[in-house]
């Protein structure tokens, strides 16, 4: 096991796959000469040269579309969005071209592409720069959506994503790039897409949380522990396909569920998990499922409002106690 930052784990995954398969290339804003806006691709230009680590103009629609065309032609592009906020400029390409190619061409043209970059709020950046896109992109059949919470998962899942024959949206986190963790040094470390991880075992309440929210939830679990409640935490890792089986199994044990999600509440990951659980495990639920999400508002700038906006330890503790009918 090596200790890597999240950015290093992502870099390792890209580097290994580029060494392994010459059809893989990396393209995006500032990925080459500048070594990445968040230094994820540091050193990759030196290693692979400008034909495979490619700077672009600020033209998300253009280079996302270029990636799709290249993927239809048999290459395996990794398209970096400096942040996923800017993927909205490329929305048509990501949601209307990439996921539909295989289907519309009756299987003749696949689209093995990875769109990756940081997702979600990252401090006081204001409304246009704080979008959590996982629920949104999960709404498009043909796309897979991955949102890891730690370096090990990031490496194993990104390698799988690059090898996947379909388009994958791979969501990182600006605030987690420096997060360190043990990463497997298995020579070809692949994690299956669509498998959740039971991150913490417990008996009293199941909490589902991915990416940055997972870390807030772990803190909440410690708080709950102090008060004598044991929370089981499930990190779905992949949002689509969703490993509902693992979640259901946990709910059958704890009979209570809270979902933490940075997406806006309406049609969120939380609402999807909740729906699937009530559909399949209604009789096992001892309380309504609660979710902890931002309010149904754009992200503000002011520090106090932003604190209020993000899912917090307190909110998760409160929601967990409510589903356990424990006094607050």
């Amino acid at each position: 096991m090596a200790t890597l930052q999240l950015r290093e784990a992502i870099r390792a995954a890209m580097t290994e796959e580029m060494e392994r398969d010459e059809n893989v290339f990396l393209m995006g804003e500032e990925v080459a000469e500048y070594n990445g806006a968040y230094k994820v691709s540091q050193g990759m230009l030196d290693q692979f040269g400008p034909d495979r680590v490619i700077d672009t103009p600020i033209a998300e629609l253009g280079f996302a579309g270029l990636g799709i065309g290249a993927a239809m032609s048999g290459l395996r592009p990794i398209i970096e969005f400096m942040t996923f906020n800017f993927s909205y400029v490329a929305f048509d390409q990501v949601v209307n071209n990439a996921p539909n190619m295989r289907y519309m061409s009756g299987g003749q043209f696949g689209c093995p592409i990875v769109f990756r970059g940081p997702n979600g709020a990252a401090g006081q950046l204001g409304a246009t720069h704080s979008n959590s896109t996982e629920a949104l992109y999960s709404n498009f059949p043909g796309l897979k959506v991955i949102a890891p919470s730690n370096p090990d998962d990031a490496k194993g899942l990104l390698k799988s994503a690059i090898r996947d024959d379909d388009p994958v949206v791979f969501l990182e986190s600006e605030q987690m790039y420096g997060l360190k963790g043990e990463v497997s040094d298995e020579s070809d470390y692949l994690l299956p897409i669509g498998k959740a991880r039971i991150a913490r075992e417990g008996d009293d309440v199941t909490i589902v949380a991915h990416s940055k929210s997972y870390h807030v939830t772990m803190k909440a679990a410690e708080e709950l522990e102090k008060e004598g409640f044991s929370a089981e935490i499930i990190d779905p890792r992949t949002i689509k396909p969703l490993d509902i089986e693992t979640i259901i199994r946990s709910v059958m044990k704890t009979n209570r569920l809270v979902v933490v999600d940075e997406s806006s509440p309406f049609s969120s990951v939380a609402s999807e998990v909740t729906h699937q659980v009530q559909e399949r495990a209604f009789d096992h639920l001892d309380a309504p499922v609660l979710r902890v999400t931002p309010p149904d508002t754009p992200a503000p700038y002011a520090p106090n409002l932003m604190d209020r906006y993000m899912p917090s330890v307190e909110e998760i503790v409160r929601a967990s106690k409510r589903v356990m009918y424990a006094a607050a």
Partner: protein
């Protein structure tokens, strides 16, 4: 085709030469279209020919230029008395932003902070070329300079940066989102290129209402790579919108030099694809900017959209966290040696309009004004927690999910 060609030769230059834009070129255009009407029935069908000329088709296009040091203030209809206020306008931006950097380090300001230092001639020169309060302005996220140049209150601007409720966007927007409806400042916008079509829309509204006001739409060299650029200029072109597209080419988009990512790095030429008058001005001289903007605004008031590239330079990194290692050694110092503020100061002294000591006094006044702005921001409160639900919708009883 042949018609297009001759238009290309005359239009941009002539249109700019004509003081109010209704000169010889336009008369010619009028008689031409009158002649067309006589022979052709009206209808929505294409007028384009498919008789391909023998060719080759050659084009000669003229682009107006506004180099530094070419214009004196009286040629710009500026009185002696306008010069110190003009200097004040530029200096306020610089002193304000120098303090911003410090306030960021003290964690009073958070999020992204993009400083405009070095580019002040563009905002000031432009503001002195429009009817403030009637004409409209829209820009990208590097927006403190133009906001202050338009007369936004420095205290209110600083309060926004502090995330306070007296801020120009009530603490909801931060550095990248300065707005002031009363000044027709339509915002700083943080998605690169996304506000160009908005600029077209603001100009559309001026025209729709029959006003003779115009919109100045500022954007960076980086924004010109976005598809939105093309769409906005084409729309402005077909609807004859009263807009000036002003590219503040500071040579870099983050760490990317403009000539690395533009197939045609002479950005002013891009407007030519939309049959617009295009010019190139120096941002190292506020007078050059002012002359260029005035000429282009005159075109816009006549319903002729146009494209103006201003070559300028940012002294700081892209944002406060960018060490700017991509510059060539000596590049920054070379630019600083041509500083537009220093140029204006020297001009003022050389013209005998004010003495060095008066300029120093002015500078001290401005520094104090910025300190007062900081104090105002400090003393302002953070928004009430419930303000998070304010201004999401106009509807006051909107049923939010709880």
């Amino acid at each position: 085709m042949a018609d297009d060609k001759s238009k290309a030769q005359t239009d941009p230059a002539d249109a700019l030469d004509a003081p109010s834009g209704d000169g010889a070129a336009d008369e010619e255009a009028v008689t031409e279209s009158a002649a067309d009407e006589a022979t052709e029935p009206e209808g929505p069908w294409t007028r384009q020919s498919i008789d391909i000329p023998d060719g080759p088709i050659t084009e000669t296009v003229e682009y107006n230029t506004y180099p530094a040091d070419r214009f004196s203030h009286d040629e710009l209809d500026l009185a002696d008395d306008d010069l110190m206020p003009m200097l004040r306008n530029m200096l306020l931006q610089r002193r304000f932003e120098e303090r911003c950097r410090q306030m960021y380090q003290r964690q009073k300001i958070s999020g992204f902070l993009h400083l405009y230092i070095g580019q002040e001639s563009v905002s000031t020169g432009s503001v002195y070329g429009i009817r403030l309060g009637e004409d409209s302005v829209i820009t990208a996220y590097r927006d403190h300079g133009i906001g202050l140049a338009m007369g936004m209150d420095p205290g209110v601007c600083m309060a926004e940066l502090f995330g306070k409720k007296d801020g120009c966007s009530r603490g909801k927007g931060g550095s990248m989102h300065f707005f002031d409806a009363s000044k027709r400042m339509f915002g700083g916008h943080a998605i690169v290129g996304a506000h160009l079509p908005l600029g077209a829309g603001v100009a559309f509204a001026h025209k729709y209402r029959g006003e003779d006001n115009v919109c100045l739409c500022f954007f960076g060299d980086g924004a010109m790579a976005q598809g939105a650029y093309r769409e906005a200029l084409n729309l402005a072109g077909i609807y004859d919108l009263p807009i000036v597209f002003i590219c503040e080419n500071n040579q870099y988009a983050m760490g990317t030099a403009v000539d690395r990512v533009q197939a045609e790095p002479d950005l002013f030429k891009h407007g030519r694809s939309f049959d617009m008058p295009c010019s190139l001005a120096s941002g190292m001289d506020v007078f050059s900017v002012n002359r260029a903007v005035k000429d282009h605004v005159a075109l816009a008031r006549d319903g002729q959209p146009s494209m103006l590239e201003i070559r300028t330079y940012r002294y700081q990194g892209h944002s406060i966290s960018d060490p700017a290692k991509y510059r060539q050694e000596g590049e920054l110092d070379a630019r600083k040696s041509e500083d537009a503020i220093v140029r204006l100061e020297q001009y003022i002294v050389n013209q005998g309009v004010a003495a060095d000591s008066e300029i120093e006094t002015l500078d001290e006044e401005i520094k104090q004004e910025v300190l007062d702005a900081i104090e105002f921001a400090e003393n302002s409160d953070f928004p009430d927690d419930d303000a998070i639900y304010e201004h999401v919708y106009a509807q006051e009883d909107y049923p939010f999910i709880n």
